[in-house]
Symmetry: C2
Subunit: 280 residues, 2 copies
């Protein structure tokens, strides 16, 4: 794959990493970064993540051969719909949002003739934000979900998969609803729990935390605005996953209350097996 002009809307940690990887790997000749704040675009440019900064979405959309939206999930659909009418036929639109069904619902059927939108979600990132933390290797060996619905254009789907592979990622095609239900378990509900853990720590006990507590709550430092938008778009699946977790915590609680130590040992053994299966 070879892109003449790649437009990245939202040049934070993810968007900046897309830009760095696209340039490092020779995927794009010219990279335009779109944002609302000149200063943050300049930082992205200084970092080498984009060649050109642009405050106007429609201008940048018109120049794009591929446009990737790396903004918070509650903004993606409206930005795609605002940009699409200015784009040229054959342009591919995709995104990097952590939810997929709500975005696809709003966008599908509303794109201009010849312009395709395919939903994506690279499973990579961090609790940090901003182009300063962008990393050309962020997608290397990681998995990107590319979504397929009854309306997805087959050629656009293949191009989207190629795009992420060209950035170093592995790709899996999935239905958006299945994506959202899965990510509720692997990312969204764990974020909620991690936030709850960080919050219930009495302030006077901060000094008594060690690496275990810090690992367990690391993601709670993520941007609250980004995460509340994710929670809003995937509410049902997250609530279902919270229920499953609650049930499991209750099993632990009952075993502790009953002094059922073989039961506790078994619960911990099952957890260790599950965690060991993930590797580092």
């Amino acid at each position: 794959m070879r892109i003449r002009t790649l437009t990245i809307v939202g040049v934070g940690l993810i968007g900046g990493s897309v830009g760095l990887a696209a340039k490092r790997r020779g995927l794009a000749e010219h990279v335009i970064g779109v944002g609302r704040q000149e200063l943050s675009l300049e930082r992205a440019k200084a970092r080498g993540a984009i060649d050109e900064a642009c405050l106007d979405l429609t201008t940048a959309a018109h120049k794009a051969d591929v446009a990737v939206f790396c903004t918070p999930v509650d903004l993606i659909a409206e930005q795609v719909l605002a940009a699409a009418p200015s784009s040229r036929p054959g342009t591919l639109f995709t995104d990097a949002g952590s939810t997929k069904a709500a975005i696809l619902e709003k966008v599908e059927g509303r794109m201009p003739e010849g312009v395709a939108f395919v939903g994506s979600h690279p499973l990579a990132g961090s609790e940090k934000k901003g182009p300063e933390h962008a990393d050309a290797n962020l997608f290397e060996g990681r998995l990107t979900i590319v979504t397929k619905t009854a309306r997805t254009d087959t050629e656009a789907l293949a191009r989207t998969a190629d795009f992420w592979r060209s950035l170093g990622s592995r790709v899996r095609v999935m239905n958006p609803v299945e994506h959202d239900e899965s990510l509720a378990f692997t990312s969204h509900m764990p974020h909620l729990v991690s936030a709850a853990l960080a919050s219930v720590l009495p302030a006077e006990l901060q000094d008594l935390t060690a690496s275990g507590f810090r690992d367990t709550t690391r993601i709670a430092a993520g941007d609250p605005a980004i995460w509340s938008a994710i929670f809003a778009q995937n509410r049902e699946a997250i609530l279902a996953a919270v229920d499953r977790l609650d049930n499991h915590i209750s099993s632990f609680r009952r075993a502790l209350e009953n002094g059922d130590w073989p039961g506790v040992l078994e619960l911990l053994t099952r957890a260790k097996e599950a965690r060991d299966a993930l590797g580092n």
Copy 2:
């Protein structure tokens, strides 16, 4: 501080790190490792964590000027009481167990004249085990809790604090019950929650986890036997901490159910502030 013979009972990650740090820093002239398995003692010796391997606790206790027990919390009290009668007057006993009140209750008042036991807990470690993962710098800059009760000998307390400081640690003196209640929040309850998170992940979704899930569940890979013993010794405080977490998860759940997005944003903002206060 300078120790002629340091005896370490249980030469795993913690005991091995005590040995490596004691030798690297010139704290002990001779380090004896005590264990039940010759093979694991040989690994500790090969690693340079101990000078001498000993399968017999009483022999090693007799030679010790300082003896530190780095075994699972359900074994420490009985091992201390088994070793103490063989030790010479002036010997200092301490430990590295993650719970303190139950151990102190069993040991205090039962030590021979002139032999002191002071409870300790270095807030350092990892989900890994074995002397292969021992680290001479494990205690560097970390906090060790040294416990004080009405019966604690003042000089022994000072020597214990010196011991951990000589290994690179900072030291805080605390009551054992306060220690256990605090650690329920900073370590034991988070371990339970991390284990529950790892367990509820459907196996077919393992490929869809990224660094966030892995961080949040890292400690769930800890040794189930070690952790079930900790849970047994600190049951009440852990259950109280689980209740507090449950309440907080319920606040999130209500906000999600009611579509109260400013409420969700505020909960996430509070969590981020709490996590940011901890540093990396």
